[in-house]
Amino acid sequence: MKTLDALLSECPVFTGLDGETLELIAGCGRNVRFPAEQHLFREGEAADTFYVVRHGVITLEMRVPARRPLVIETLHDGDVVGWSWLVPPYRWAFDARAAEPTAAVALDGACLREKCREDPALGYELLQRFSQVMVERLQAARLRLLDVYGDPRAA
């Protein structure tokens, strides 16, 4: 049975952090399991807890009246779910739902924010790593916006 910091170090967003830092972050975390279809969080809720997927699939989606929810993105092993805990107003913009039974590490965002305020170096390190995640998600979102598979004749 791996320790929490060992599990965290396997996730790309935390890989490479030294043992002490990992322990610090692990101090804000706990193992969680979601059965299929359970929501991790919903649009509009306070973004205090975020997650790192250990094993499973999380769907980020948006509810629309009279239609089935539209999927923004699916997140898989090793992916971070949620960064709204890092930036005000600390509110979730989407729903997140387990598409299948999923094991994850839940991290207390409020607790981590406090630790970053006390240790700016830690804060900078985390912000850099999460910026990377945001950039990758933004690039992907932009690629999808371009609708590259659409009719190429469209202006």
Binding site: L70, I72, E73, Y149
Partner: protein, 264 residues
């Protein structure tokens, strides 16, 4: 002119047409034919069939203009004009002895299908083989049954993703290039074959480079205006290359500088 055997609708605007080649079918994966719709015109279409299957000449065609619309509308018994095959094929022989990553976007899976079938029929000559495939939505994915069969194989890693889906889609939603980061292959011993919209190919080549695959071993299949298909009409030029003769498959190392020049 070859007779039509069958046609099958893959999605709203895409059809797979099978022709009877008579006795003279020989092509390498990645090559294309010039298909002629009587009185309408010719279009360069990649062959999407199994190279080992001599009795059927298969193309998957997307109806984007008068010629491709006419080809998509043919019925069994009618005929389609065929010239070819033309072009430089996928480096399936060069890839032997190492890992192979096949990355397809949209109808880009059509010219890669012959390469995948070739590799699967000589599976022992390759190490790890991966297919990364994506399309706009689940309804636009090609070769549904065959894709499902590929996913069942334990000698083939398959990851499929779509750009948009409703929540009844049980698979991934996200872009194809993002699949490269977590695919299992050894970058130092991998040949990658990529085909799809140019934006997708550039983003994929970038992701493969980030993983450490050298630019000489990443291969793309490009598209330009093609008319004669044998290097004489001047239309398919991209910088110093004639796509019909020097391509359409190119190592990224060779073609990247020309792809980067605006309006070349």
């Amino acid at each position: 002119m070859l007779p039509v055997l069958t046609t099958r609708r893959e999605s709203e605007d895409t059809f797979t047409v099978e022709l009877d080649p008579g006795d003279r079918l020989a092509f390498a994966p990645g090559q294309f034919m010039m298909l002629y719709a009587f009185g309408t015109g010719e279009a360069a279409i990649s062959i999407s069939g199994d190279p080992a299957e001599a009795a059927r000449l298969v193309h998957t065609v997307r109806a984007l203009g008068p010629t491709t619309q006419a080809i998509c509308a043919v019925q069994p018994g009618e005929v389609v004009g065929v010239r070819g095959p033309f072009g430089r094929p996928w480096p399936v022989a060069e890839a032997e002895g190492g890992d192979v990553v096949i990355v397809a976007g949209g109808i880009g899976l059509a010219p890669l299908r012959p390469a995948l079938l070739w590799i699967l029929s000589r599976r022992e000559r390759y190490e790890r083989v991966t297919l990364l495939y994506g399309g706009r939505s689940p309804e636009q994915l090609l070769y549904g049954d065959e894709l499902a069969a590929w996913r069942e194989r334990d000698d083939l890693d398959v990851a499929v993703t779509v750009d948009v889906a409703r929540s009844d889609w049980r698979g991934r939603v996200g872009v194809v290039p993002a699949l490269v980061a977590t695919a299992r292959f050894d970058p130092a011993h991998t040949v990658a074959m990529v085909c799809g919209p140019e934006i997708m190919m550039r983003a994929t080549a970038s992701a493969l480079s980030d993983r450490g695959v050298s630019a000489e071993r990443i291969h793309l299949s490009l598209e330009r205006n093609m008319q004669c298909a044998f290097g004489r009409c001047g239309h398919c030029q991209l910088g110093p290359t004639l796509l019909c003769r020097d391509g359409p498959v190119f190592p990224y190392a060779q073609i990247a500088p020309w792809m980067r020049v605006w309006e070349l």
